[in-house]
């Protein structure tokens, strides 16, 4: 199952590297979100520093949703979804493969966009970079895990790009609350590290529960 998933992930990433369509769009969109944030919150103002930890997640969520939508809708155009479904593998390996492809793409976007955000807003990190990377990892994991699942669900609709945010945002709200709180603590106030770790545990628990749940339920979503 894992090998089949790896094959699908590889296929997705190869085709993405050929076209560079989605990744390019996501990164440019992330840049545009940073631009809009600079209009909304004056970068010269010191109080702006307080919103930067949250802004990291605004960027990830909005650019993530672009990629998530694409990853399953693109299988619909030539009806390649049916091809995947009749292939000798389980539905859960399709999910796993899609998840891995999306996860690696969002990680690339984060690697590019987050340093840019800090650079453009002249944000000095007072905390631990390592913990920050851990938070990014755990948070994106949960967001993409449930996002891939809901994208598969929404892709059955003709207006999936409208439906997906409506499904995804309320569903991921615990992740978003958890990671924004943890990011805020880690980037600005390292003394409260224990509570940041508690938040991380909550998000990790969410990740585990929903990853398993999505794994079990995906075969109902991908039924023909």
């Amino acid at each position: 199952m894992f090998r089949a998933a790896l094959t699908i992930a590889k296929k997705d990433i190869y085709s993405e590297l050929r076209t560079k369509q989605v990744l390019g769009t996501m990164i440019i969109f992330a840049g545009l979100v940073i631009l809009v944030l600079s209009f909304a919150f004056d970068p010269a103002n010191n109080t702006t520093k307080a919103v930067i930890p949250g802004a990291v997640w605004i960027i990830i969520v909005f650019s993530g949703i672009l990629g998530l939508n694409r990853s399953l809708v693109s299988e619909q155009r030539n009806d390649t979804m049916h091809g995947l479904l009749v292939a000798p593998m389980e539905a859960s390996s399709i999910y796993l493969g899609k998840f891995m492809a999306n996860f690696s793409m969002i990680l690339i976007v984060e690697i590019v966009a987050v340093p840019f955000l800090f650079l453009l807003f002249d944000f000095k990190v007072n905390g631990s970079i390592l913990y920050f990377i851990l938070v990014l990892f755990v948070g994106s994991f949960g967001f993409i895990a449930i996002g891939t699942f809901l994208a598969a669900l929404a892709s059955n609709s003709k207006s999936s790009e409208m439906l997906l945010p409506l499904l995804l945002f309320p569903m991921t709200s615990p992740v978003l609350i958890g990671v924004t709180q943890a990011t805020k603590i880690i980037l600005t106030n390292m003394e409260k590290l224990p509570s940041a770790i508690a938040w991380l545990q909550l998000v990790a628990a969410y990740d585990v529960i929903f990853f398993v749940l999505c794994f079990l339920l995906i075969e109902y979503v991908l039924e023909v």
Partner: protein, 253 residues
Amino acid sequence: MSMNLEREKASFEVADWAPIKISLLTKILYGGMVVTMLAAFYFIFLYAEIEKTMGAVQKIFYMHVPSAWVAFLAFFVTFVFSILFLIKRKRIYDTYAYVSAEIGVVFTIIVLTTGPIWAKSSWNTWWAWEPRLTTTLILFFLFVAYLMVRQMDGVWDKKARLAAVFGIIGFADVPIVFFAIRWWQSKFHPIVFGDGPSQQGGGIAPSMLVALLVTITAFTFLYAYLLHKGVSFENMKLKVDQYKEKLRERLEN
């Protein structure tokens, strides 16, 4: 043209028109609802004492809490019937899940309107980002999304399947949302039942408790009645669709 009309007439005669019987269950639910609702009005406005600090405004409590209870109950029912549907694949389970979610959304709207009215007078603010409020809001969004999944284009069993999946993960999400927000911030809602973390929960007068229990019973009857009615409406819709289909076939042949 005239031939078609004739055929239409003929097919009407063929379709059996059993007189619509009002079942015993409907009668019981309707009767129970009316009786408990009237009792609830008596208990709210005459029996329960007036709260000392908030005054008569506190009466909205008897609308607010039972509505919240019904909303959560409705979503729980949706969850249960979603699981049943995925296992048994019977249309009736799907109908129950759908109607229950619709009722749940309506009662969540009631909670979200009575809440701010009460909050304005007792907390002096319309809204606070407090665990139960935020959870209810997110619950509302989740089940509006559930109804959006139902509005998708396609055949019914696909929609029912996807909606059932969404109903399950949506309901699984709610406790996590609640705990996340509870950690995030907790200030406003008094803990009415049981011991609060500060050991000084608001508490409730016995007469108020009786009134609350009566209203909760009344609202549960209302929910059961609405669910029953809604499901029979959906079934009638299906029947009409089937008749239409039959009629079309007749007209074509």
